[in-house]
């Protein structure tokens, strides 16, 4: 192979007391050192490599972390091909400064992309640490993980569909009281609308796993039983504004989420569903309205959807930042 970075991997290993074995693929030496510096604080064994190399060998690691933008087209194709297989090498976390976006249709459609962290010029260690810890330890729930310790979340409960606008109104007041940019407040409400609609209409299933309300028009009232109530949590710390919705069903399938994202990014004639019930645009609308979209699923038990908006600066600053996305499954 002509690519010397791939044929001559350089390894740097260090042991610490945390769980897990990590392999980081990053051709830029400075960036690699920055990543290793962060990851050494969370994982037991961290190795760095400048090229993708032999993907089969990555199966000995618990997590493969790849800078997508630095891969050439051939390596990107190899990566996708490896992750199309049921026996994937290992868990994959992709870092991207925007190159990834061009391939969203393919990456979501092939189910390759379940963990993406948007990267900026300056490395932000917090999100890498939280994401890697969730992947290695399996402790996936809780919006508080994404906020500075010490913030006080606001908690609400949604009991019926017609309460949704009241909850959104509370959220709007909350965001406005923080002095958040008006358009970011609007996006916050858009996200709330979609997540709450999903929790009320799509999440509930009967004992056989059959959706109960998914085919209803979204202006039809749904009254939930107490054990079905949707928990809503709001959080902020001056850096981010967040919302989490937790439903007690855990009925969302990762494949469904990725399929809808792929279809929507394709913008084909089937972008908008014509079936009864939802339009199939909700997850896409949420993704595009956020800085970071996190979905935590404990199948058959609960689903938590977390939306995070970086509220620093102007709307233009928000639009310029790269997006992050994670789907975590608790076994």
């Amino acid at each position: 192979m002509a690519d010397s970075l791939v044929s001559q991997p350089q390894r740097q290993g260090i042991e610490s007391s945390g769980p897990g074995r990590l392999l980081v693929v990053q051709p830029n030496g400075k960036r690699l050192r920055e990543l290793l510096q962060v990851l050494r604080s969370v994982a037991g064994h961290v190795e760095g490599r400048e090229g993708l190399g032999d993907l089969e060998s990555s199966s000995q690691y618990d997590l493969l972390l790849v800078d997508y933008d630095r891969l050439n087209a051939e390596d990107r194709a190899r990566l996708v091909k490896a992750y199309l297989r049921p026996d994937r090498p290992t868990r994959l976390l992709v870092l991207s400064g925007g190159e990834c976006r061009r391939d969203f249709v393919h990456l979501f459609g092939s189910r390759t992309l379940t963990n993406l962290l948007g990267k900026e010029d300056i490395l932000s260690p917090e999100d890498i640490i939280v994401t890697v810890q969730k992947l290695l330890r399996g402790d996936i729930f809780g919006i508080e993980k994404y906020f500075t310790w010490g913030v006080e979340p606001v908690r609400m409960v949604l009991r019926r569909a017609t309460e949704k606008e009241r909850v959104i109104s509370v959220m709007q007041d909350y965001a406005n009281s923080l002095g958040v940019h008006p358009r970011l407040v609007n996006l916050y409400c858009v996200v709330a609308d979609e997540l709450l609609t999903n929790a009320v209409y799509n999440a509930p299933v009967d004992a056989n796993g059959v959706p109960r309300y998914a085919e209803l028009s979204r202006d039809v009232e749904v009254v939930l039983k107490p054990e079905e109530y949707v928990e809503v949590v709001l959080c902020s710390d001056g850096h981010r504004l967040g919302i989490a919705t937790i439903d007690p069903f855990g009925s969302l399938r990762r494949e469904r989420l990725l399929t809808y994202l792929s279809k929507c990014f394709q913008k084909g004639p089937d972008q908008v569903d014509q079936k009864k019930g939802g339009a199939g645009l909700g997850f896409y609308s949420v993704f595009e309205s956020l800085s970071h979209f996190v979905v935590n699923i404990q199948p058959g038990t609960r689903t938590e959807m977390i939306g995070l908006i970086d509220v620093r600066g102007t709307y233009r600053d928000f639009a310029n930042r790269n997006k992050s996305f994670n789907v975590f499954i608790s076994e």
């Binding site: 979204r218 913008k267 908008v272 102007t314």
Partner: protein, 159 residues
């Protein structure tokens, strides 16, 4: 904001429909279709939040009006509407876009001030200009990414 409402303003050779509120589930846009008997221009300055349910109803309305042979134009499109042009291929249908509201933001006042522009060949250059805030006079910048905000124009180029 309340759910979507509209006011019909018949004019010489078209009907102007002025919308206000959130395009979410609930508004009976089928009813609006029965009220339109001519070419139509939608004034969208006061449309706020747009949900996925609202998008589908909107597309169904657009299809019905187009099937009935009406020419449709959009005027004073709010930033939320422009986002839909860029996100959902069918949202604007075959409509002519007469003007859009470009958001300018005053960091001192924490307020947005829209600037009406025609999305023509000079739009990108216009959006690089700074404007004084009408309240405090501080220079305001266009508060979006020019290329992505005007991205819907590339659909016109391909058509």
């Amino acid at each position: 904001m309340p759910k979507l409402k509209w006011q019909l303003q018949p004019q010489a050779d078209e009907t102007r429909v002025v919308f206000s509120g959130d395009l979410i589930e609930g508004p009976n846009l089928d009813e609006l279709v029965t009220q339109i008997h001519s070419n139509v221009v939608f004034d969208l300055a006061e449309v706020g939040r747009v949900s996925s349910s609202g998008v589908r109803q909107w597309i169904q309305m657009m299809n019905a009006l187009t099937a009935a042979g009406h020419h449709i134009a959009f005027d004073r499109c709010s930033p939320a509407i422009v986002s839909q042009f860029n996100m959902v291929a069918q949202f604007r249908g075959a409509a002519e876009i007469r003007s859009i509201l470009a958001p300018y933001y005053c960091q001192d006042c924490n307020k947005e001030h829209p600037r009406q522009i025609v999305p023509g060949p000079n739009a990108a250059t216009e959006l690089e200009e700074k404007l004084p805030c009408p309240s405090c006079g501080t220079n305001m910048e266009f508060d979006e990414l020019v290329e992505s905000f005007l991205g819907f124009r590339s659909h016109d180029a391909r058509a």
